[in-house]
């Protein structure tokens, strides 16, 4: 499991990207999917996830839809077109960042300039 500090800046990217891939999802589903895809190496806690989802919704990147299950209300999140674009730009930026850091830490791997 990775540290909170490391994950903090990437949660947004992870959540948007997951929704881009899987369409509409509810909170529990997002935590389970993340666990599954990363073999348990990335664990999204509820404490980080729900506030982030609400923030992304307020920013216009997500729309919500609810479904009643008896007394419970299940809230599904999906990307707006803006969210879709954001998912692409954040993950591209992140992939680029990772590549840069890999070169920085392993100069031998850098393409010769």
């Amino acid at each position: 499991m990775y540290s909170k500090e490391l994950l903090k800046g990437t949660l947004r990217t992870i959540v948007l990207k997951l929704l881009a891939e899987h369409g509409s999802m509810y909170g529990y589903e997002i935590t389970q999917k993340t666990k599954e895809l990363t073999s348990g190496k990335i664990v999204l806690t509820e404490g980080a996830l729900y506030p982030l989802l609400h923030k992304l919704e307020a920013e216009g990147y997500l729309v919500t839809n609810t479904k009643s299950i008896g007394k419970r209300i299940r809230k599904y999140y999906a990307l707006t077109p803006e969210g879709d674009e954001k998912a692409i730009s954040l993950s591209n930026e992140f992939a680029d960042f990772v590549q840069t850091v890999i070169y920085l830490l392993n100069p031998k791997l850098s393409p010769k300039s």
């Binding site: 369409g23 190496k41 879709d84 993950s91």
Partner: protein
């Protein structure tokens, strides 16, 4: 999938309410989260009692307090923290991101017509053009000439082709991935068959004036898990 009975649901709600403060939005979601957690464990063979005590073990009082605290802190915190020393873990994350690539064909995010259009009736509370009563409009009406080509707004399967003279007229429902469905109504002509798969952008029909309609237009709806959502928020191209 196991679903908790009323008594079990009440028990989960009771312990949640004992620990969480006034944020209603958060409480509703944590309620579903906790119930689903218990159900998942019961599905994997645990009894309700076992699953419930595992829940309490995993989300102590402190966890809930910290959720509420994070909630408050979130609006002030900056999200991007680049920690250079931990680049090894970053590489693992990159792999994860590559695996979960975006597939843009799935979501209905294009206009159902090829050309420019005018929205003659928007989504939400509207005055019905014929009855003059205020009703919830489940889609948008695009004012387009008769026989304008109509296209599927995402990859999918034709679920329904039907004619309802007292409602949507000749209409098509297409089922897409992840709980999305789109409806195209008041058509004059349909060029696909029920059960057929279609790709994003494929012509499926021609627009018309069938059913209850005050003039040639295309009524277009997007439904997410059976509930109408505002198509304007989806049409990006």
């Amino acid at each position: 999938m196991t679903t908790l009975n009323n008594q079990q649901t009440e028990q989960v709600l009771g312990s949640l309410e004992a620990h969480i403060g006034g944020n209603r939005k958060l409480k509703n979601e944590m309620f579903d989260h906790w119930c689903t957690y218990v159900e998942t464990h019961m599905n994997n063979g645990a009894s309700f009692e076992q699953a419930y005590s595992k829940l309490k073990e995993e989300f102590g009082v402190n966890e809930l307090k910290s959720i509420e605290k994070t909630y408050l802190a979130y609006h002030q915190s900056s999200l991007w923290v680049g920690t250079l020393q931990r680049a090894g873990s970053m590489a693992a994350m990159l792999l994860f991101l590559v695996v979960a690539g975006v597939d843009a064909q799935k979501r209905p995010d294009i206009s159902p017509v090829f050309d420019q259009y005018i929205v003659s009736s928007a989504f939400g509370e509207q005055i019905h053009p014929i009855t003059n009563k205020e009703i919830h409009h489940n889609g948008i009406d695009l004012r387009v000439p008769l026989n304008t080509p109509v296209r599927s707004t995402a990859d999918g399967t034709v679920k329904t082709i039907k004619n309802s003279p007292k409602g949507h007229g000749l209409h098509i429902i297409i089922a897409h991935k992840d709980g999305y469905e789109t409806l195209y109504a008041n058509l004059s002509n349909v060029s696909v068959d029920a059960g057929q798969t279609v790709v994003k952008g494929e012509e499926i029909a021609r627009s018309g004036n069938s059913g209850i309609s005050s003039g040639p237009h295309l009524h277009y709806e997007i439904r997410l898990n059976q509930k109408p959502v505002n198509p304007k928020l989806y049409i990006s191209k």
